[in-house]
Amino acid sequence: MLSLYVPGDSFVHRAPAAAKLAILVICGAALFVVSGIPVHAAELALLAGLFHAARLPWRDTFRQLRTALIFLVPIFLFHVFVTDWTLGLETVLRILVLLLLAVLVTLTTRTTDMIDVLEAAVRPLRHVGVNPSKTGMMLSMVIRFIPMMMREAQEVLEAQRARGLDRNAIALLMPLLIKTLKMADDLSEAIEARGYDPEPVVPVWRRKG
């Protein structure tokens, strides 16, 4: 779910990021309180309506869910053989609703808007030394650099395979670690060069006066 915002002008897109994230958190918690296959089926239908309203391409949605769907099958089968299939179906529906809701928020909300919400949410923690600006920057960089790290890992693997080395975790990790450190070094320079200057945060116990 990395920076996959799909531009649009639907009411789902226009809804404030804070409201969407709050709904995600509240519904995520509520999902484990409410139960029953018809309830979750109704939730799924509501979500399908929201996806339709947001005009999100099914291909993008499926791409987001692909990996998770692989795990849903064994979860269902486990319940079929160990408990009963209705419980399995309910569990799978519950997870699916949660995943679809998260995908809906991800695809209709800009990263910067989400980061702004996160920064606002952690602002009260500045009294205990948490820097909201740095927290937001950290999240942004995680989203930005995971695809890069995956590409770097792929390059290292290909280079090793070209030289006759089969999969070897240590042989992969060492060059990847070195590349990551170099990348982090370059990135810190780039951030500095573009004038990043977060407000300093002093925890209450270190404040004078």
């Binding site: 990395l2 920076s3 996959l4 915002y5 799909v6 531009p7 800009r110 990263t111 910067t112 920057m137 942004s140 960089m141 989203i143 930005r144 695809p147 890069m148 590409r151 990348m183 370059d186 990135l187 320079e189 780039a190 951030i191 500095e192 060069a193 573009r194 004038g195 990043y196 200057d197």
Partner: protein
């Protein structure tokens, strides 16, 4: 004006710059030299990314040692690998990053982002994930993200090294349109023919400094 006075710098035991004295007043200055000759270190000194071990670098009278933040606002810096300088995941967000650092109001940021996207032909990519752009598009984004901050000077450290011929031309054409004085570190000597001045580094020293034809001739002879 950028003034470099008696600058020397070391990385551990290795002295990478030795007694550099020069000033940059021209609108187009090229910097060339062999790998490890000190040209990238020199470029990093110009916007305060590196503070020299001895000597001083001043930009319009501001010393990088004392006013590094103010200097960085005046001197935009474009790195060789755009992947390592694009901070935000989406094109539009990355361009806005520098403007946020300047503490501009949201509406002003949106207006400037729109302008720069249109100016550099990136409007159609505004919502695109940065990691999905081509090499040329990434470098164009990196340059746009620097220029949107309206620096007084622009330093580019080998911005075309990782690009194919078509993207090199795209970036070179873009550099030609930059209104501010430009310092371009490069290995592509052809790109410097219409520059006003070329500085040649070798072993951490300036070994030639003058019109492109003379400086490039000196460099190619030394490399032969």
């Amino acid at each position: 004006m950028i003034q470099v006075s008696d600058v020397s710098h070391r990385f551990g035991e290795r002295e990478v710059l030795k007694d550099i004295n020069l000033s940059v007043r021209e609108r187009r200055v090229g910097v060339i030299g062999a790998n490890g000759s000190g040209k990238s270190t020199f470029a990093r000194l110009l916007n305060g990314l590196l503070i020299p071990d001895s000597g001083a670098v001043t930009v319009d009278g501001l010393d990088t040692r004392e006013d590094a933040k103010a200097v960085r606002r005046r001197v935009g810096f474009v790195f060789q690998n755009p992947d390592n300088q694009i901070v935000f995941p989406v094109v539009e967000e990355d361009i806005a990053f520098g403007l946020k650092n300047l503490k501009l109001p949201k509406r002003e940021i949106a207006r400037k982002v729109d302008t720069v996207l249109a100016e550099y032909g990136l409007t159609h990519l505004r919502d695109r994930a940065a990691h999905l752009l081509s090499g040329g598009e990434k470098q164009l984004l990196a340059i746009s993200a620097v220029l949107v901050m309206e620096p007084r000077y622009v330093v580019l450290d080998e911005p075309m090294t990782l690009l194919d011929l078509r993207n090199k031309k795209l970036i070179l054409d873009t550099i030609r349109t930059i209104g501010q004085p430009v310092v371009l570190v490069t290995h592509d000597l052809d790109h410097l023919r219409d520059f006003e001045r070329v500085i040649v580094f070798d072993g951490g020293r300036v070994v030639a400094d003058g019109p492109p034809r003379d400086a490039i001739r000196h460099y190619t002879r030394a490399m032969a």
